[in-house]
């Protein structure tokens, strides 16, 4: 296992090899690995010819990314990059897994594409044990996307702007669907700013604490005409809402399915009854529909699932009975004889190739938007602790022996440089805001690199500092790279 991470995390410590690159330099690293694989003759030329397109443009793009250049841009020694490239290219099977360190950047999609290029270059895709794999932070992140909680997709990733597909849904639902894609989360805030979005229905999110540049987010939410929040807990977003609908806990109070990172759809069953006054989430939505003049009958999880199966071909073969019998099924599963698929894209290896070629996309390195300069000389990155989940709406309601107070983590060298000891407070300022936090030393950090978690917004409002520079393709903000300044803070 190779771990690429600016910080030396527990995973990095466990790994065979750790590369400690600079925050936001992932494309430089990936492109240099690509170049090294090509010039060393380790590219899988047969696979490239057979199943991909755009290789020549990619080759020309990465030609510029010499190992020396990558060393300058990433900070990782050229030799270490070379060894990593060779190990990946020569591996019998290889996977690239990532999480938010790749996607919480202004060029998130480019970061992902740079990694996919490596998989195509070496043929580490469409085979057992190989592939590219975004790891999910919760049991059903994958399921959320699969079910159509994406601005331009309907259930089963069917494109909303495709009239034929849309017509299929309209027939089944006996309703018109807006023929134009919707907004993603960041775009919604821009729409609020323009006054185009005035009503918001929030299900199980806590944007007051989770949005980058929190001041702006709170101001815009406050400007809404009407906000409904449906959640398990009275979050800070719920506190601002006009109406709060108490939701149910998907993993223990309701019937239904979840889908894991490996695309495995599994049944969940209600293990405990709902607390008094908290209806099932489906029930809430059914009641809303009734008020809007649509009578859907009695809510029934299995009936809804069968509707999914009817409309989404990749879920068609997954009856409740089969899901139970097989302990879950990995999509796609087209009919009731289909066992599901352990890995995707095996078609790329079939002779002759069926379907479109997998495209290389040449992408260029761009440093983070929030530049370092004399006034803001330190790079702040954000992340999560093992015992906490995002804004803590769920995880901070129970005690954990691992949990510690919110701190800004610095390298011991920076502690010396700013003459602060552990537990002493510092003022942390970015171009957007300024907060106070006590210091903790983490030997896994280098000088110049600081870390804040996103969990403890009430003590340390990390998102007062972060930048809302958004990747236009994914709508994600660059939570991972903020330019900051640290000053010793003397309490009066």
């Amino acid at each position: 296992m190779y771990v690429v991470d600016p910080r030396r995390t527990s995973s990095a410590q466990w790994a065979d090899v750790w590369l400690g690159l600079d925050v936001g330099s992932d494309i430089s690293l990936a492109n240099a690995m690509g170049r090294e694989i090509i010039v060393s003759g380790l590219a899988n030329e047969a696979f490239i010819r057979h199943a991909t397109s755009g290789f020549e443009a990619y080759r020309q793009c990465v030609e510029k990314y010499t190992l020396d250049r990558a060393e300058r841009e990433t900070g990782v020694p050229a030799e270490a990059i070379r060894q990593t490239a060779h190990a990946y290219a020569k591996a019998k099977s290889g996977q690239i897994c990532w999480t938010l360190g790749i996607t919480e950047h202004h060029n998130a999609v480019d970061n992902v594409v740079a990694l996919i290029n490596l998989a195509l270059l070496t043929g580490h895709v469409g085979r057992y044990g190989s592939g590219v794999n975004p790891l999910r932070g919760q049991n059903n992140v994958q399921g959320g996307g699969d079910m159509g909680a994406i601005p331009d997709r309907l259930t089963g990733f069917q494109h909303l702007e495709n009239p034929e597909l849309r017509a299929k849904f309209e027939r089944a639902w006996r309703a018109k669907i807006e023929p134009k894609r919707g907004w993603h989360l960041s775009a919604m805030f821009d729409a609020m700013e323009r006054g185009e979005l005035t009503l918001l229905y929030v299900l199980g999110e806590n944007p007051v604490d989770s949005e980058a540049d929190r001041h702006r987010a709170v101001k815009l939410l406050r400007g809404l005409k009407f906000m409904v929040v449906q959640d398990l807990f009275c979050t800070r977003t719920a506190e601002m809402a006009d109406v709060v609908l108490p939701g149910s806990a998907g993993w223990c109070e309701t019937e239904g399915t979840v889908t894991s990172s490996e695309r495995r759809v599994q049944r969940v069953r209600a293990a405990v009854p709902l607390p008094h006054g908290a209806p099932d989430d489906i029930e809430i939505i059914y009641q809303l529909a009734r008020r809007f003049g649509h009578e859907w009958g009695m809510p029934d999880a299995e009936a809804i699932w069968n509707e999914v199966r009817q409309l989404s071909p990749m879920h068609a073969g997954m009856s409740y009975r089969r899901l139970e019998e097989l302990g879950g099924i990995q999509w796609p599963c087209y009919d009731e004889t289909h066992p599901g698929e352990m890995y995707l894209h095996s078609r790329l290896w079939q002779e002759p190739l069926i379907g479109p070629r997998a495209p290389f996309h040449a992408v260029e390195f761009e440093p983070p938007v929030d530049e370092l300069n004399e006034q803001y000389p330190m790079r702040l990155t954000t992340g999560r602790y093992l015992d906490s989940y995002n804004t803590g709406a769920q995880s901070q309601r129970f005690p954990s022996p691992l949990r510690r107070a919110a701190t800004i983590d610095l390298s011991p060298e920076d502690g010396e440089r700013y003459q602060v000891g552990e537990g002493e407070k510092v003022r942390i300022s970015s171009r957007r805001g300024s907060i106070i936090a006590p210091v903790r030393f983490d030997s896994g950090l280098r000088p110049g690199l600081a870390f804040l978690s996103v969990h403890f917004h009430e003590q340390v409002a990390t998102n007062d500092l972060t930048i809302d520079a958004v990747d236009p393709k994914s709508g994600t903000s660059e939570f991972k790279a903020t330019a900051i300044r640290i000053e010793k803070y003397a309490e009066k």
Binding site: V17, G75, S411, P447
Partner: protein
């Protein structure tokens, strides 16, 4: 990092003890001084560090031996050096009885108060020590020494026994057996003054093998007769002839001979040895490494035969292992020696070095292209590690908790690879089988109990020691062999098979000591323990000691055993003190129920047998009415 070390740091001496074993740290990430410029950008070698997890137990031994206890700082340093989470390091360190995680004086006397030593004055010895040194477990004035009560030290033929360990740059251990207050206290004082001799014991194997020199002996023919440190002596007395013969026969024939011999494992479980070997041998085509393990973690109270074999004839153990390695296609063997056996450890370590020097271990054994080497691992005071899967976990650097079976070690053993695990006594039978032929060996003995057997005769007997006989003699024959009943001369009870075995009454002495014979009276042969109690013995106290032993030694992994062993002792305590809850009959029922739950639901033999001896006694005698 989410998981954090406490602030405690290792002292220079603790670091030195660990570095002496592992070598100097390679970067600031594995314990070296922080050099962020060099180490902050790329680190290779994480996999190498991880792959050294199996060195955790040796590392803990190194700290304990140097300092006398294992501090939180030392645990942290071990955690960083081996890339093992601190909680896991603590979990392993706290698993073993020989490790102290709180400050302890450098000189410790472990004084056996277990059942065999009870028959030879351990009670009086401990009382005197309490009088002279203060209660067990509290450091002496000056803080240089401490004495502790200990479970069976495997020195039963020389009871009462004690083991002294002295930590330091040159750690020393010393067996004192038979122990008396004076020699114990003076040896402790020698240890404090650094005057302990390098040799851990004064043992003359002859004393422990009363039959020494008798012509009919096979397994014990060299013990007490040869210089155990001389490979030349061993070779002159037929040593390694069986290995040469094995090369002539080839692996398949060797295995066939062992199958034909009907040799059953001598560790207690009595599984056919040839079948184990065959199972591992048949996986040779799969291409991954195989292992041979000699289980020398002899810890059953009353058992000491393996110790005497290792001390008196260590090369025989290595030859048996080498033949096993040849037969099953293993290149690496481990001998896992009980931590309380310093002399056996030293003799085996010497034998391994001598065998390597003579090309009887190593890359090209006897010029026949065989690669096989043996590494010695020391246990650290955990009875459960004699259970073969617990032993595997222990070698791998985990808590010595048994694994679920199946898969059996022959399929998924050490490092989850095919592994043969054989007891010491089992292995020294191998040369006999190879040289005499399996069929001939099978004719020795009686019925399905083929071959020779070692018996550990101790307690109230005239000549305690290890005795060899072909299967067949009765309990009475074996007692006679050992000179008859000692003590008052009037026998009250015999314990067969140790704490996990069963009691028999004087009426049952004509039972043959065979698998079939003992089974017929509801007893077990186990590890060959024949422990005698005369009519002055308070059997209630013996049962209490056995119950305390299991309560102490349960690994705690399965609930029935963890809870049942405690409840069993509590019921016995109430019975002994006559403070029963309800009637005596009801308490006996409770014991039966606890025993049933432990037998049915424990995953390993410890829980399954923890009630056997106690119930066997209660069924034979009306002990508490």
């Amino acid at each position: 990092m989410d998981l954090h070390l406490t602030a405690a740091a290792a002292s220079a001496e603790e670091q030195a003890a660990i570095d002496a074993l592992l070598g100097e740290p390679e970067s600031s990430w594995d314990g070296g001084a922080r050099q962020i410029e060099r180490d902050g950008r790329a680190v290779f070698g994480g996999g190498t560090a991880r792959s050294r997890r199996h060195l955790l137990l040796p590392v803990l031994h190194a700290i304990q031996e140097r300092i006398g206890w294992i501090s939180p700082g030392a645990l942290n340093y071990a955690s960083v050096r081996l890339n093992v989470a601190p909680a896991e390091v603590h979990g392993v360190a706290s698993f073993y009885g020989m490790f102290s995680l709180s400050p302890r004086p450098p000189v410790t006397a472990h004084v056996c108060d277990d059942i065999a030593c009870m028959t030879r004055g351990a009670g009086a010895l401990c009382a005197e020590l309490e009088h002279k040194l203060g209660p067990a477990g509290s450091p002496s004035e000056g803080g240089q020494t401490i004495w502790q009560r200990s479970a069976c030290l495997g020195l039963c033929e020389r009871a009462p026994a004690a083991l002294i360990s002295a930590a330091g740059t040159t750690a020393r251990e010393r067996v004192v057996a038979p122990a008396a207050t004076e020699n114990l206290i003076s040896t402790m004082q020698d240890a404090v003054n650094g005057r302990l001799p390098a040799e851990p014991d004064t043992l003359s194997t002859k004393l422990s093998v009363p039959q020494a020199g008798q012509a009919q002996l096979r397994l014990l023919r060299r013990a007490g007769q040869v210089d155990p440190s001389s490979i030349e002596d061993y070779l002159q007395r037929g040593g390694y002839e069986a290995l040469r013969r094995s090369f002539e026969l080839g692996a398949e024939r060797v295995i066939q001979e062992v199958i034909d011999s009907k040799l059953l494992g001598r560790g207690g479980a009595a599984f056919p040895t040839g079948k184990k070997w065959e199972a591992v041998h048949l996986q040779r085509h799969l291409g991954y490494p195989h292992y041979v393990i000699c289980n020398a973690d002899e810890s059953e109270p009353g058992t000491f035969k393996d110790r005497i074999v290792m001390e008196g004839d260590p090369f025989a153990v290595l030859e048996g292992m080498t033949i096993a390695g040849f037969a099953v296609g293993a290149q690496k063997g481990y001998v896992y020696v009980r931590g309380e056996y310093p002399l056996a450890t030293e003799r085996l370590n010497h034998a391994i070095r001598a065998a390597r020097a003579q090309k009887l271990l190593g890359q090209d054994i006897l010029g026949r292209g065989l690669r096989f080497d043996v590494e010695l691992r020391r246990g650290a005071g955990a009875y459960i590690c004699g259970e073969e899967t617990a032993l595997l976990n222990s070698i791998e650097g985990y808590r010595g908790e048994p694994r679920n079976k199946p898969p059996f070690p022959t399929q998924s053993g050490l490092f989850h690879l095919p592994t043969v695990v054989n007891n010491v006594e089992t292995l020294i039978n191998i040369p006999e089988i190879i040289l005499g032929g399996g069929a001939a060996y099978a004719r020795i003995g009686k019925g399905n109990s083929a071959g020779y057997r070692l018996f550990c005769v101790s307690g109230h007997v005239v000549r305690p020691g290890v005795y060899e006989t072909p299967y067949g003699p009765t309990i009475r024959n074996v007692i006679d062999m050992a000179g008859g009943v000692g003590g008052t001369g009037r026998l009250q009870a015999v314990l067969l098979g140790g704490a996990a075995g069963s009691f028999v009454s004087p009426m049952e002495l004509d039972t043959p000591l065979t698998f079939e014979g003992t089974r017929a009276i509801g007893a077990t042969l186990g590890s060959g323990v024949v422990l005698l109690f005369d009519d002055s013995t308070d059997l209630q106290q013996v049962l209490l000691r056995i119950a305390a032993f299991f309560r102490d030694e349960t690994c705690g992994q399965c609930v029935p055993c963890r809870v049942g062993s405690v409840r069993q002792e509590e019921v016995l305590q109430r019975l002994v003190r006559r403070q029963t809850i309800g009637s005596v009959a009801e308490e006996r029922n409770t014991l039966q129920e606890i025993a049933q739950a432990m037998r049915d639901a424990s995953i390993c033999g410890l829980g399954q047998t923890a009630s056997g001896a106690i119930l066997s006694a209660m069924n034979r005698w009306s002990l508490f009415s």
